[in-house]
């Protein structure tokens, strides 16, 4: 019909498209209002879960992680070592068991995560100019606890060691300045860029919250479309859209798109304005990234339900893809160390690309140009999955065989 009177159809089709969109939107809104749980899955539940996640990591840095000292020396030196450990903010000396066996029990009970073992005659050896060493046994199974802990204990011990060395040098007649320069010809300055204190609020909460959002976004798309299939109400849905699949999908996904864009904005605003993790690089790249994360996962959800035509199967698929996505995203364990199969899977997840973009522009301060690649990939996911999903629905969803599956 379009080929016969092109001029008229343009204005004639535009109005029905807008009308159809509004009708689908209204229909969807009524349905959501009738179902408090589905509405909650767009509103307060994601908010609550994300707030909980932030709350878990809100301390940022673990202070007073418990350790024990087995002090076989019982000297002035070993006592000052214990005092210095206690003064380090990351460490709490919670006990001084008499033996290694007893200390091990503290570790197995997880009442302490490391044991500093001071050997007999430590002070004596140092005084007579012989080298001695302390042993630090830590629980390698709790790597988040002991990462900072080992660094702190090492610092305390090397401070004590440097003090002993300086004293020895000065005794031999070197000036303090001379002694200092002699014992470390090349000094080291260690810097952790962008997250100097290894703060977990920045490192984990900032990455985990978008990882939770992608689960909710995918679920929203799967549920919204899946319910029509389960109830067999696809013809009514399509009718409201004036028989246009594009309009039907746009109207249906508009509310979740808006809801999760707001969640994303709230996330960025909360951390950057309230928590003080300022956006150091391009805020524009970050915000476009948030928007594309939402559209990409709405598209992925659409493709999942279109491919399965069954709400429960699509939910399982969404669970399989989105729940472990954080583990594959390269934030905890680096992408470059993954085997090719895992790396391939990681690259096929929009989340991986979004989180790289977020790290780069939020904390690392990169200008927008560095984000173009990841933004294009996210847009590509949106287009490819969205078009494939729409096409599959158009082909299959109107058949009664596709309805009522569980």
């Amino acid at each position: 019909m379009a080929s016969e009177t092109p001029r008229v159809t343009l204005s004639e089709t535009q109005a029905p498209v807008a009308r159809g969109f509004a009708a689908v939107l209204r229909r969807e809104w009524q349905r959501l209002r009738a179902d408090a749980w589905d509405l909650a899955m767009l509103g307060w539940i994601p908010l609550l879960v994300c707030a909980l996640t932030w709350w878990i990591f809100s301390a940022g840095i673990a202070r007073d992680v418990p350790v024990v000292v087995v002090d076989h020396d019982r000297s002035a030196l070993s006592r000052s070592l214990v005092r210095m450990l206690e003064q380090a903010p990351g460490i709490a000396v919670v006990g001084q068991p008499a033996s290694e066996a007893e200390a091990l029990q503290w570790l197995r009970e997880r009442r302490a995560y490391g044991v500093l073992l001071v050997p007999r005659q430590l002070q004596q050896q140092l005084l007579t100019g012989r080298a001695a060493s302390v042993q630090w046994f830590y629980n390698g199974q709790f790597s988040a606890h002991v990462g900072g802990l080992t660094r702190d204990v090492r610092t305390v011990v090397s401070t004590l060691s440097a003090g002993a060395e300086l004293t020895a040098r000065e005794k031999r007649g070197a000036s303090v300045v001379q002694a200092r320069q002699q014992f470390e010809p090349i000094r080291l300055r260690l810097v952790s860029l962008y997250n100097e204190n290894a703060n977990y609020e920045a490192f984990l909460a900032l990455a985990v919250i978008p990882s939770m959002l992608q689960i909710f976004i995918t679920l929203a798309a799967v549920t919204a479309i899946g319910r029509e299939l389960k109830a067999g109400s696809v013809p009514q849905w399509l009718a409201a859209a004036g028989q246009r699949w594009g309009t039907a999908l746009a109207g249906k996904l508009a509310i979740p798109a808006l809801a999760f864009t707001l969640h994303g904005l709230l996330f960025v605003l909360f951390f950057s304005q309230v928590r003080g993790w300022a956006v150091e690089g391009s805020a524009a790249a970050l915000l476009v990234g948030v928007l594309l994360l939402v559209t990409a996962y709405l598209a992925v959800g659409t493709l999942m339900i279109a491919a399965t035509l069954a709400l429960r199967t699509a939910l399982s698929m969404a669970a399989f893809v989105t729940a472990p996505a954080f583990a594959f995203s390269g934030q905890g364990f680096p992408l470059m160390a993954m085997p090719p199969l895992a790396r391939g899977w990681a690259e096929a997840l929009p989340l991986t690309h979004y989180l790289q973009l977020q790290s780069r522009h939020w904390l690392a301060g990169a200008p927008w140009a560095y984000g173009v690649g990841d933004l294009l990939v996210l847009a590509g996911f949106t287009l490819a999955a969205g078009l494939a999903g729409g096409w599959l629905l158009k082909r299959r969803a109107l058949s009664p065989a596709a309805w009522g599956r569980t």
């Binding site: 899955m41 879960v49 996640t53 990591f57 301390a59 673990a62 202070r63 418990p66 709490a92 091990l104 570790l107 197995r108 997880r110 140092l126 100019g129 012989r130 080298a131 302390v134 046994f137 830590y138 629980n139 390698g140 199974q141 988040a144 606890h145 004590l160 060691s161 002993a164 060395e165 010809p185 090349i186 080291l188 300055r189 810097v191 952790s192 860029l193 290894a198 984990l204 985990v208 939770m212 679920l219 899946g226 709400l311 429960r312 669970a319 729940a323 472990p324 583990a327 594959f328 905890g332 680096p334 470059m336 160390a337 993954m338 199969l341 895992a342 990681a346 780069r360 904390l363 560095y370």
Partner: protein
């Protein structure tokens, strides 16, 4: 005797219902099986090596070349670029092509030769903690080796023996030794905890899914009485026992994680955990009216539950209220208890707190669950 027989019948009826529900079967058995290979996949190599770094060399001296060589020889890092230009290093960092830099300022060699204070800077990308650690440790060791060589040379000019020179250089040594997860593998650290969570979540999902669909269909496969409740409870718990046996018996061995600390303790802890999860699931299930609802809620709870368990984030940093609230789910004592028994080789008294936590949760869930069970029946 009659109650026992009725309970046995409910046990069998529940198993029949599980085996007859494809959705539940997928969750109960296929899910755990698939995840057991899928979840450890990214961590197969367990640690990072040869992390790409750049050397920003503004000194162009024999010493700076020596530093670069030593950095290149260190197994943790891989020097992919040497440049005098800091901006080039920044560009590579933003492109994720390097994870850190060794900055050698102009005049370094001159200072070292004349015995003045000399300093190099090592920077790692703090956003990626594992890479950062590898870069800082690797480059620090490389520079430290070069520095120590210079120092020992200086000292041996004044000391009678090399051993004495070394003792003077570092009077108090520090010897760090990892216990339990001795190779400090990342998968060995994360997956045993996640395994417990998978056993819990798949069972909770399946129970609530089945409860939802029984309500939708308007009929339970067992009588809503006391034997019916316990028969069903033991049936669901037995699934957790089977999955635990698979994860702790097969997966830990297959992935070569630290394992098998205390099999006898496991024999007691596994059924306790299974019962607690089953009772928790049956209580939870009593609130669901449709087949799919629970899936949405349980799915997004998994990550926070993991962080609340105290494995990947120290309990010392949790806010007070959460320290108490986290005991309301079986995964909290479950993850800690199983890690202690499996990976740390704890004896039973060393997981007493966790066992008590599971026991209390079990009692509470059975009490509440039975009340809901009979009320609906």
């Amino acid at each position: 005797m009659n109650a026992l027989r009725a309970g046995g019948a409910a046990f069998l009826a529940t198993w029949r219902a599980m085996l007859g529900d494809t959705g539940a079967l997928m969750l109960l058995f296929a899910g755990g099986l698939v995840y057991s290979f899928f979840y450890p996949l990214p961590y197969a190599r367990e640690s990072v090596q040869r992390v790409p770094v750049a050397v920003v060399d503004q000194d162009h001296s024999a010493l700076s070349r020596q530093l670069t060589r030593f950095a290149q020889a260190h197994p943790s890092v891989n020097v992919v670029a040497v440049t005098p230009d800091l901006r080039e290093a920044q560009d590579l960092l933003w492109r994720n092509q390097i994870a850190g830099t060794l900055f050698i300022p102009a005049g370094l060699q001159g200072k070292v030769l004349s015995g003045r204070q000399a300093e190099v800077e090592i920077a790692g990308n703090g956003v990626y903690m594992m890479l950062n650690k590898a870069v800082l440790n690797g480059l620090a060791e490389a520079v430290g080796t070069v520095s120590a060589g210079i120092e020992v040379k200086r000292l041996s000019a004044a000391s009678p023996s090399p051993a004495q020179a070394l003792a003077q250089r570092q009077p108090l040594g520090f010897n760090a030794v990892a216990l339990f997860n001795v190779r400090e593998g990342y998968g060995a650290y994360v997956v045993p905890g996640v395994a417990v969570l998978i056993v819990q979540q798949t069972l909770l999902l399946a129970i609530t899914l089945m409860f939802g669909s029984w309500v939708e269909r308007g009929g339970f496969p067992v009588r809503r009485d006391l034997p019916g409740y316990f028969g069903m409870l033991f049936a669901f718990a037995s699934v957790a026992v089977i999955n635990s046996a698979y994860y702790f018996g097969f997966v830990m061995w297959w992935q070569d994680y630290p394992r098998g600390g205390n099999p006898l303790g496991l024999a007691l802890f596994v059924p306790l955990f299974g019962l607690a999860v089953a009772a928790f699931g049956m209580l939870l299930g009593s609130w669901f009216r449709t087949r799919e609802r629970s899936a949405q809620l349980l799915l997004c709870a998994a990550m926070p539950l993991m962080f609340l368990s105290g494995l990947s984030w120290p309990l010392e940093a949790l806010p007070e209220p959460l320290l108490a609230l986290r005991w309301l789910v079986p995964s909290t004592p479950g993850i800690q208890g199983f890690i202690a028994l499996n990976q740390l080789g704890a004896r039973l008294p060393e997981v007493a707190a966790e066992a008590a936590g599971l026991g209390a949760l079990l009692l509470a869930c059975v009490g509440l669950g039975l009340w809901r069970w009979k009320k609906a029946g």
